[in-house]
């Protein structure tokens, strides 16, 4: 099977791994639920993760309410909260930390990672390297369903006795080891979603290494693919360590072993049934293992989007990426360094201060490749011809907020400065600047950019821009003041800041943040409205709406099963925009030298008709 096979009948499902045709119409189940087609898996990841975004955001708004108006009943929703965790609609301390924990867990494990690698990995890799599907379509399907299952397990926590996991998204023992069923479910969910990541990552790595179209060398791949490829390596190597950490935590939590439990704790778990921990373990050990994964994980959450942003920026500036190879080496450097900086989350944890020095220096170094990326983006728009589509605005928004988020990272990277700001809202501000301002803006950029390809319809640009402006403005109004709270010493994860006198002056800021957050939350509904509207009534998308160069725009919108109409060959690097010798300002990768594209679906050579 060395040469590609063309099959012309649409209704016949082609099973690549068996090489024979099954002549039946796909039922709903095989088409939408157990489809192994990468585009369907991408859609599944996208829709479920966006749904989780609503959930996670709603949890955030609930906890924001408590911070702004402690002791006041939550309007509208409050009356539906069960009496156990909220009395008369007022959020109780126990519920509050469940909200924090689940907000972050949902956002990280069920929104950003699935969107960054689940959605864009599935969407971009096969299309952008010019192939028909993933290397292992079944594993792909499995990866999605494990994720989905994990989502259900995590959410189930809210409905069991004692409530959901309540040790922060970091789940530090001993607290997490003495938690109840909800905490156990949280652990299981993390394990499952980690397994899903590993399966996804191994699939992406294999696909990129094995299924590139003829002519496509590694250094002909778009930066999105590069970024996701390297991210997958991070996932494959990092996630199993998290899996082993939560396995041990599971033992501690359920079987009352003592991996993370020191001798003679004066509290026994209320769930221990009289069983006592034997002791001898070390709480800090868990933190090491956790961050050994979770620091790379924050780069798992940003690198793919850095790739996406590079592609979007280059396309809409009509200019080649500035320093394509430097960008790739920067991604590699970030990925590598990402594995040796995890201790910067633990400066105050009681680990050996010598390690603090080591980790501080490596962390500061990691800002260098990030700086290279920022400068290269600026270089890319320099002397460009910038089109302000929604996707591009989101990408520029990404850069703008990532700079702030990254700079606040440098404060914390300096261990002595971190003494004061550790576990304050300064960290919370950093988190949201890099994760919302960075990752989520990048994701939005990608969604607006590739929606036409994935769904075959053009998202509404006017509403798209409104979405951007509302989000960008209220994002900054919500999260910038958190730096102030942080500098003021406002701790994270506290249910009622008014307990402390030194925090009382900051209460107006808390109110302000909450109001802005509510507006921010509701502005996200624009995106959902836009997607639903477009899906049903939106205008059909042309094959290459943005005049971009990469291979996915060679496939019809939406691409059929198998993606391309004819075998693809790659002739040049992905960013050949505005070449002075060409009339067009773009030169797609798939066009043979001298060939021009005249119509939607057929390619014709300049001199003679080949078909």
């Amino acid at each position: 099977m060395s040469s590609p096979v063309l099959v012309s009948d649409t209704h016949h499902d082609v099973h690549t791994d068996h090489g024979h045709h099954e002549h039946h119409k796909q039922s709903f189940i095989t088409k939408y639920i157990f489809s192994t087609d990468h585009k369907m898996v991408a859609k599944q990841f996208m829709l479920s993760a966006l749904f989780f975004l609503l959930i996670g955001g709603a949890l955030a708004l609930l906890l924001r309410w408590q911070l702004a108006y402690p002791g006041e009943a939550v309007p509208l929703i409050g009356q539906f909260l069960p009496e156990l965790i909220a009395s008369d609609g007022v959020i109780q301390p126990g519920l509050f930390i469940q909200l924090t924990t689940m907000h972050a867990s949902v956002m990280i494990f069920f929104v950003i990672i699935p969107l960054a690698v689940g959605l864009f990995g599935n969407l971009c890799i096969p299309l952008m390297i010019g192939t028909d599907d993933m290397a292992l379509p079944f594993i792909n399907l499995l990866s999605f369903w494990l994720y989905f299952l994990a989502g259900i397990v995590a959410a189930a926590g809210f409905f069991v006795q004692g409530g959901a996991g309540a040790s922060g998204w970091t789940g530090y023992p001993p607290l997490s080891a003495i938690g109840g069923l909800g905490q156990t479910l949280w652990i299981v969910a993390v394990f499952l979603v980690g397994f899903s990541s590993i399966l996804g990552g191994m699939n992406y790595v294999t696909t990129v290494l094995n299924k590139r179209a003829p002519g496509m060398k590694m250094f002909d791949m778009p930066l999105s693919v590069w970024a996701i490829f390297i991210t997958s390596v991070l996932m494959v190597l990092g996630t199993p360590v998290l899996a082993s950490a939560v396995s041990m935590l599971f033992f501690d939590n359920v079987l009352h072993t003592s991996f993370f439990m020191p001798d003679n704790l004066t509290v026994a778990s209320p769930y221990a049934n009289g069983m006592k921990h034997s002791g001898g373990g070390q709480p800090i050990l868990f933190q090491h293992l956790f961050w050994f994964y979770s620091h790379p994980a924050v780069y798992i959450m940003i690198l793919p989007l850095m790739g996406v942003v590079s592609d979007v920026l280059s396309t809409f500036s009509r200019k080649p990426i500035y320093g394509y190879k430097a960008m790739i080496f920067a991604i590699m450097a970030i990925a590598f360094l990402g594995f040796i900086v995890w201790g910067h989350h633990m400066f105050q944890s009681g680990m050996n201060p010598l390690l603090g020095t080591t980790f501080m220096l490596s962390t500061i170094v990691i800002a260098v490749p990030s700086a290279i990326k920022v400068f290269n983006w600026l270089g890319t728009i320099w002397r460009g011809s910038i089109r302000y589509t929604t996707a591009n605005m989101m990408a520029l928004g990404f850069i703008a907020t990532f700079i702030i988020g990254g700079l606040s990272g440098v404060f914390m990277a300096s261990a002595p400065v971190d003494i004061y700001i550790h576990d304050t809202y300064f960290i919370v501000a950093h988190i949201h600047y890099v994760l919302f301002g960075g990752s989520l803006f990048g994701i939005y950029a990608g969604i607006y950019y590739w929606f036409p390809k994935l769904f075959g319809k053009m998202l509404n640009e006017i509403w798209g821009r409104r979405h951007f402006f509302w989000t960008f403005i209220f994002f900054n109004l919500t999260f910038f003041p958190m730096h102030i709270l942080g500098v003021g010493g406002h701790m994270r994860r506290i249910h009622d800041p008014n307990v402390y006198d030194f925090l009382k002056p900051f209460q107006p800021w808390n109110e302000f943040i909450t109001i802005m957050a509510i507006i921010l939350g509701f502005s996200q509904l624009i995106l959902f409205g836009n997607i639903i509207y477009t899906w049903i009534w939106g205008p059909k998308a042309p094959k290459n709406p943005w005049n971009a160069n990469t291979l996915e725009w060679h496939a019809p919108s939406p691409p059929p099963h198998g993606n391309f109409l004819a075998p693809v060959r790659v002739y040049r690097s992905p960013y050949e925009f505005s070449h002075p010798d060409r009339a067009d300002d773009f030169h797609p990768q798939w066009l043979a030298p001298g060939e021009v594209e005249i119509e939607e679906t057929t390619t014709v050579s300049e001199t003679q008709n080949t078909h």
Binding site: P283, Q348, A400
Partner: protein, 302 residues
């Protein structure tokens, strides 16, 4: 209610003046830490304005215009090299500056000779503090005697423990003295956070960690828990009262009297020695004695 929460324009501008939001600093090294923060802050502000300036200028200048084609350019290695090197140098500076402060505040071997040495234990949800009492030594600790009423596990068989003073929730220290806290926790992780002293250190069960500070101003300051430790985490507040040496001595002898039912005329060994310590190096006895206790508790079955 909602309108009142919206700050004025000048207040919004004031957001950029980060440094003014710090709570008052009352420790000796606090202002050095603040200066380090300020150093990074001004660098960041510079980079922020630089990158934003460039970004915004490019966004305006190079917006799409008819008949203007973008510049076909793939980048320049020399430029690439320069903007790799410059931040590296800058970061090396930040790193070096920071490392000095880090060693000073956290390295165990840099902990100064204590004038007052105490132990603090975090628990769900509060703080408790043990002073060695008039004899200047902590009573032996027995892990098996740790209960909610004897959080330090003070061995009832050890005479040195009889005069140990244990205070719950509110602690008292003298100003201008090196205060060294042996920190631990009895159940889950906590974090010993004194905002005004710029001190933060996680309290880890099963481990004793040394924290030190030196307060410069008399007054009452808040102690917070900064590590999530359960539903009462937000409420795990403590108080630190800083007194002049004389007031502190008096406080200490009053407390000892309460504890032992005897009154001490003049303040005992401990604070005397600290008054003369500046030129008397033998005063480290106290430190040695306390290191011993921490050894018995620190090292496990080895």
């Amino acid at each position: 209610m909602i309108l009142a929460a919206i700050p004025s324009f000048t207040e919004l501008l004031g957001m950029f003046d980060m440094l003014k939001w710090f709570p008052e600093n009352v420790s000796t090294f606090g202002h050095e830490l603040d200066n380090l923060f300020a150093f990074i802050y001004y660098i960041s502000l510079g980079i922020f304005f630089l990158t934003y300036g460039v970004l915004i200028a490019f966004m305006i200048k190079y917006r799409r215009k008819d008949n203007v084609k973008a510049y076909y350019y793939h980048g320049n290695n020399l430029v690439e090299f320069t903007w790799t090197l410059l931040p590296t140098i800058l970061f090396a500076g930040i790193g070096l500056y920071s490392d000095g402060m880090w060693e000073k505040t956290k390295y165990e071997k840099k902990v100064p000779v204590p004038d007052v040495e105490v132990q603090v234990m975090g628990y769900q949800y509060g703080w408790t503090c043990r002073y060695p009492g008039p004899d200047g030594t902590f009573g032996r600790q027995d892990r098996n005697q740790m209960t909610t009423s004897n959080r330090f596990g003070i061995d009832s068989a050890d005479a040195a423990g009889k005069d140990d003073i244990v205070k719950d929730g509110s602690f008292t220290f003298p100003i201008n003295r090196n205060i060294v806290v042996g920190l631990s926790a009895s159940d889950v992780l906590h974090s010993f956070f004194l905002p005004n002293f710029r001190v933060k250190q996680d309290a880890v069960p099963g481990q004793w960690i040394k924290v030190w500070f030196n307060g410069t101003k008399v007054g009452k300051y808040e102690l917070a828990c900064a590590e999530l430790c359960g539903s009462g985490h937000y409420n795990m507040r403590g108080e630190v009262t800083m007194l002049s040496q004389a007031d502190f001595d008096k406080w200490l002898s009053d407390e000892s009297a309460k504890k032992l039912g005897v009154s001490f005329a003049v303040s005992p060994v401990k604070s005397d020695s600290s008054a003369t310590k500046k030129n008397d190096s033998t005063a480290t006895v106290v430190a040695v004695a306390t290191t011993d206790t921490s050894k018995t508790t620190n090292k496990k079955s080895k």
